[in-house]
């Protein structure tokens, strides 16, 4: 991908809401959360929210690293692998009780939810996104100019 900083942030928020939101809605009831459906939704949407908000900060770091690349591109592989540090940070925040409204999340449920959501968002960003948004890729990933 060839993102600009603003494009990174816009794409991140858009895809986590538009793709991550419905996916979370679908997958939550079958996750091994060990809690009732209401509490499970509370936990998974909290994870999605924290991933989105922290993601904006992560994008600043990724954009900074991109400056060392001559092509100023962001290889497809990087878009997938950045999920590892991002996922770990979100997990530590929940497990460490830093998220004030959350009582923590079940480990297996978190891994399943986070990895499938990340994978899906990554897949959409690397192709299908260009179908409805034909201007998106030439605008550095910006949806709003």
């Amino acid at each position: 991908m060839l993102p600009t900083l603003s494009g990174r942030i816009q794409t991140r928020i858009f895809l986590l809401v538009v793709v991550g939101g419905p996916w979370t809605l679908i997958i939550t009831p079958v996750l091994p959360t060990g809690a009732d459906v209401g509490a499970s939704y509370g936990a998974t949407f909290s994870v999605l929210l924290v991933t989105t908000v922290l993601g904006v900060l992560w994008e600043l770091l990724w954009h900074g690293l991109q400056q060392f690349r001559w092509e100023k591109d962001w290889p497809t592989l990087f878009g997938l692998l950045t999920g590892i540090p991002e996922g770990l940070l979100v997990w530590f925040l929940f497990a460490g009780g830093v998220v004030p409204w959350s009582d923590g999340v079940a480990g297996a449920a978190f891994v399943l939810h986070f990895t499938t959501t990340w994978l899906l968002v990554w897949l959409v960003a690397n192709g299908p996104m260009r179908v409805p948004f034909v201007h998106w890729r030439i605008n550095g990933g910006r949806l709003v100019p």
């Binding site: 600009t4 092509e71 192709g127 179908v131 034909v134």
Partner: protein, 509 residues
């Protein structure tokens, strides 16, 4: 793409409806002037000429956006949009079976770039694009894949219905608004020598104005009338390889770009496959020893003489940071940035690296740093005097293959010269046609607009103009600008998606 064959035919038989001295000398024409000259006028809102891939992708975008075939005419001497491009790739050693230097998502037959060429090609290539450019080299499509896909799209959008064969002679502004594009149809195709297309919008996509040869090559040819032993790689030069097949020889290859890479590959493939003993001397004017650039944030990789880069510009000019940055620059600042990211370069490919490493090891591939000072024929051979970093050197070769790809001045193209002289077009900081961010040819507005895309506009606010995706980016900017003027609807998410589905199903539109 010279007009000369058609012009010669016409010189023999004067025909009605020709340009008059008055028309040629007048910048802005009235309808009356054309009527007096007997030149018939055809009305159509949008005219594109050149008829290569630049015209094709622009028409593709407009058709997908909903413009009917009746509102577009493509004026061209080409039989297919890729004819001229395929000629150039073939002579420069990229036949249909070989890979181009183009990104997987840059598909002239598909404005969405999805599915990309790699996805269409199969799982092995999925893995490649997943790991590129970190663990694999950039995927690039085969030339044949690009041409057959364009052929399918050409029929899908009913492109042939919009094509009018012939050569465009000039574009002039029309009194009262719009433009006249003068077409010279082929002999016998029309009762008059010229036809005028009256339109509100004109799109200029004539490709490369022409090849320019280095002074030493021109001097050699003029002095010795020898076009066989000293060749430019963009000209047909198969006879050089055939001669090396008949008897062993030494070749001087000059240049550090992708064409030099391809020519070296051809010479070494022939060595390997046909058991030849060809010796290669490779002359670099600028030898790149390693990573180079003004700062740690802009350092391009390089080694063994070559500057390495996946594509002909840093990738982000096609949509990312560099595109955004260039868009805001002008004048000297823009020229400086062009220089910073320009420079001859070639992509990293494992087979090329292996071949050259083997050649260096076995002694049949040698590198010289310097410039040719003089060439003269000596018997069957060419004697070359070069100024090198080791001092003056003299060598004799069976052939000299010049792989420098210099482009001629835009004035070499008759229509572009006419636009500069009569229609208000100007030059940008690097000397080509000056276009704005929406590819309007600045200075030519006349109750309508002239747009230009492709190589002739290099040096503008968007750098990657002479590439597949660059032409599509231009097409999108032009279509968006036409949407602001009410000619077409801007392509939004709904129509884009439904049209994509039609593309997938190969539904004719």
């Amino acid at each position: 793409m010279s007009e000369s064959p058609i012009a010669q035919q016409h010189a023999r038989t004067p025909r009605p409806g020709d340009l008059t001295d008055r028309l040629v000398a007048t910048d802005v024409w009235t309808d009356q002037m054309l009527a007096e000259a007997g030149i018939p006028v055809v009305d159509v809102p949008f005219v594109t000429f050149g008829g290569g891939i630049g015209s094709f992708v622009t028409v593709d975008y407009l058709r997908i956006s909903g413009v009917p075939t009746s509102a577009i005419r493509v004026l061209t001497p080409l039989r297919t949009p890729w004819e001229s491009y395929e000629y150039l790739t073939t002579v420069s050693q990229i036949p249909r079976s070989e890979r181009l230097r183009s990104d997987s998502q840059s598909r002239p037959d598909n404005i969405w770039g999805f599915p990309s060429y790699a996805i269409a090609e199969g799982p092995k290539q999925w893995w490649n694009v997943f790991l590129e450019p970190i663990f694999t080299r950039y995927y690039t499509p085969r030339a044949g894949h690009a041409f057959t896909a364009m052929e399918r799209e050409m029929h899908r959008i009913r492109y042939p219905e919009m094509v009018v064969p012939g050569q465009v002679r000039m574009v002039r502004r029309r009194a009262g608004g719009g433009y006249f594009t003068i077409l010279t149809p082929p002999e016998g195709a029309a009762p008059t020598r010229r036809i005028a297309y009256r339109s509100q919008w004109v799109h200029v996509a004539v490709g490369y104005p022409g090849l320019k040869f280095l002074p030493d090559l021109q001097r050699y040819r003029q002095r010795y009338d020898d076009f066989a032993r000293v060749v430019n790689a963009y000209e047909p030069h198969e006879h050089v390889y055939e001669r090396l097949h008949r008897r062993p020889g030494t070749v001087l290859v000059r240049g550090g770009g992708i064409v030099a890479s391809r020519v070296l590959q051809r010479l070494i493939d022939d060595r390997d496959q046909r058991g030849l003993q060809t010796q290669v001397v490779h002359l670099f004017r600028t030898y790149v020893a390693g990573a180079h650039g003004p700062s740690v944030f802009s350092r391009r990789p390089g080694a063994d003489g070559w500057a390495y880069q996946g594509f002909n510009y840093p990738k982000s000019v096609w949509g990312g940071q560099l595109k955004q940055r260039m868009r805001r620059t002008s004048g000297e600042e823009r020229a400086r940035l062009y220089k910073e990211m320009g420079g001859t370069n070639t992509p990293l490919r494992d087979d090329w690296l292996e071949q050259l490493a083997r050649g260096r090891r076995e002694g049949w591939y040698r590198v010289v740093i310097g410039q040719i000072e003089d060439m003269r024929p000596v018997g069957d051979l060419v004697e070359v005097a070069a100024g090198t970093d080791q001092g003056p050197q003299l060598g004799t070769f069976d052939a000299v293959i010049d792989c420098t790809g210099l482009e001629a001045d835009i004035r070499e193209h008759r229509v572009l010269a006419d636009l500069l002289d009569h229609s208000g077009a100007g030059r940008n900081p690097v000397g080509r046609l000056d276009v704005g961010t929406d590819f309007e040819l600045l200075g030519t507005r006349n109750g309508g607009k002239i747009y230009a895309s492709g190589s002739a506009t290099l040096g503008g606010p968007f750098p990657g103009v002479d590439t597949f995706f660059g032409l599509q980016i231009a097409a999108q900017e032009i279509a968006d600008d036409l949407a602001r003027q009410g000619f077409v609807q801007r392509l939004g998410p709904g129509r884009s998606t439904s049209q994509w589905w039609k593309w997938v199903r190969n539904t004719q539109i």
